[in-house]
Amino acid sequence: MGHPLVRLDGVSKAYGKIVAVHPLTLDIFRGDFVAVLGPSGCGKTTLLNMLAGFVLPDSGRIEIDGRDVSHVGPDRRPTNMVFQGYALFPHMTVRQNIAYGLRIRNYPKQEIDERVGEMVDLVHLGGLERRAVTEISGGQQQRVALARALIMRPDVLLLDEPLAALDLKLRNSMQQELRRIHQSIGGTFVFVTHDQNEAMGLANRIAVMRDGLLVQEGSPEEIYSTPRTQFVSNFIGEANVLPGRRTSGVVVLDAGTAFPSKGSDGTVATVVRPEAMSLTKLDGAPIEDGKVVMQGTVRDAVFLGSRMKYVVEVPGNAITVYTPPSGRSDRFAMDNKVDVVWNMVDQRVLDTE
């Protein structure tokens, strides 16, 4: 990969006494599609605004393509943004919106026409050029916002919760669309989101933030399968977190089961994904090697189409289990006792203090 396109080096920002972003270091490489993921108030939007130039960092250094832009205004940075809610110019047509950035730079009319044409093709807006942006649908507005930023050929395209305002069906198709556009122009995209599905579905790298700190950074697979903290495991996908204690290489869970686990003595949290668990009735049958079993009571069973969702009460906890859908006959009924089983390789034991 070589030299990173964007370097954030010890960048921080505080508003009065409230620290939005603690000193943070992050490299973004050319061609990356990076998600900055975190709950609201985690500092991700401030981070994006610092990349765009709307917020100047209190300390640290922001480099884009080798140039220090820490104190350069948004109008003179090689970044462009797709704003949350799109921020289209409501008094302009689709075409006028897309062309605005080039008009500012006094490009000749012919070149503007050409590049607007390219963009309209890229985002599939053909035929809508003369429509007012207030008259088109949410999905189309989203495309206009994208075209308006991409026409500037930015070194880095920034996106603020790009799919948040769309409904489910549209979100899925726009997600595929964004991946296609990213691949076809080969650009570098950075977006912030609080929706882990969006992050997983779009990005090749995810940076998880919490309380102004960068908690973990890596590929979606790394973050999903080896979350570094309980917070990450809960935030990326659903997770059952089972508290327990390790004594001389054996973890005893509060929920009433035990398994061997190397590590120092102390309290631990065992994280298991709902889809890694299965429900069964052992009726005293022996446990297979490498599996963990726990007894519980079914408290809720919901048919979700592609899967069943069970809520199972275990001592001190209520856990969620997803199983493949099944006929009415082999379902576990409400308030019945069941055994919850999972493979030890699918769990992750985190030391807690």
């Binding site: 948004p74 109008d75 704003f83 921020a87 110019f89 500012i104 308006r148």
Partner: protein
């Protein structure tokens, strides 16, 4: 109740029409009168344009002068109002609302009081002369401050400023913040953002503000009377004379509606100008 059922808006229309008629009818009556004639101090129905012809003939100098003043006031006040409203809307944050409340209160802090404030400040024994006297710059009070068109412009500008701020602020308030950021992000300077994004979106508000100032300044007669001096012969004074001293309501109406007519023409022209200059490209 059932609000927000769009298709039923017309149900309220007859009701509102009655309301507007009671409210607008008196003015309509005057409009009718303006085509009548006065004979032996009584109004006689007629359908003559004579009153209008006479207005344009006898009072053209005064009309031109009036609209020079009114136009100047409207331009100055609209500009100041835009700057103030812009700062309150985009820069003042949470101080915006209290500031606007002050404006609203000052809106009718008293017409009369404002006139006399300026009369006192600009007058022979007023603040400016006292200051100049104390500083030894002049020996005798200077008199050219008051009783001239400039005094009228200052006084009426002071009075109409809040009137102009409100519609512009209203227009600015419905402009969203994020598109302004987007324009900056696309390379626009701060000034370009105002020119390309803010102004085109508040053209109507600016035109309303301009119209209010123009109509008010053109129709006013108290300020020229008290502060304008003998040579500031604005049409308002003459209309009042016509109604009062001459008791010719027909002629007075014709003069009043001439003023309103010219106002509408000026507003139309300025509107066209505003919509052309701040057009969307």
């Amino acid at each position: 109740m059932t609000p927000a059922i769009r298709s039923r808006g017309w149900l309220a229309l007859p009701y509102l029409t009655v309301y507007l008629l009671v409210f607008v009818a008196p003015l309509l009556y005057f409009f009718v009168i303006s085509f009548w004639r006065v004979r032996l101090f009584r109004l006689m129905p007629d359908a003559s344009l004579a009153n209008y012809a006479k207005t344009l003939e006898a009072h053209s100098v005064s009309l031109i002068f009036t609209f020079e003043i009114a136009f100047t006031i409207a331009v100055i006040v609209t500009t100041l109002a835009f700057v103030f409203a812009y700062v309150v809307r985009f820069k003042a944050g949470r101080y915006g609302t209290p500031l606007l409340f002050v404006v609203l209160i000052a809106l009718f802090g008293g017409y009369l009081t404002k006139i006399y404030v300026w009369k006192t400040i600009l007058g022979q024994a007023g603040v400016i002369n006292s200051a100049l006297g104390l500083l030894g710059i002049v020996n005798e009070p200077i008199t050219f401050l008051l009783y001239n068109p400039v005094a009228v412009v200052i006084t009426l500008s002071h009075y109409t400023l809040p009137l102009a701020i409100l519609p512009i602020y209203g227009a600015l308030r419905s402009i969203e913040d994020m598109p302004l950021r987007a324009a900056r992000d696309l390379g626009a300077s701060r000034f370009r953002v105002v020119w390309d994004v803010v102004l085109p979106q508040c053209r109507v508000g600016i035109l309303i503000a301009f119209s209010l100032c123009l109509i008010f300044a053109a129709g006013d007669f108290v300020t020229p009377l008290l502060i304008g001096g003998p040579y500031t012969s604005m049409i308002g004074k003459l209309i009042q004379l016509q109604f009062g001293f001459h008791g010719d309501a027909a002629m007075g109406s014709a003069m009043a509606f001439t003023v309103i007519g010219i106002c509408l023409v000026v507003i139309f022209m300025v509107g066209t100008l505003i919509f052309t200059v701040f057009r969307v490209r």
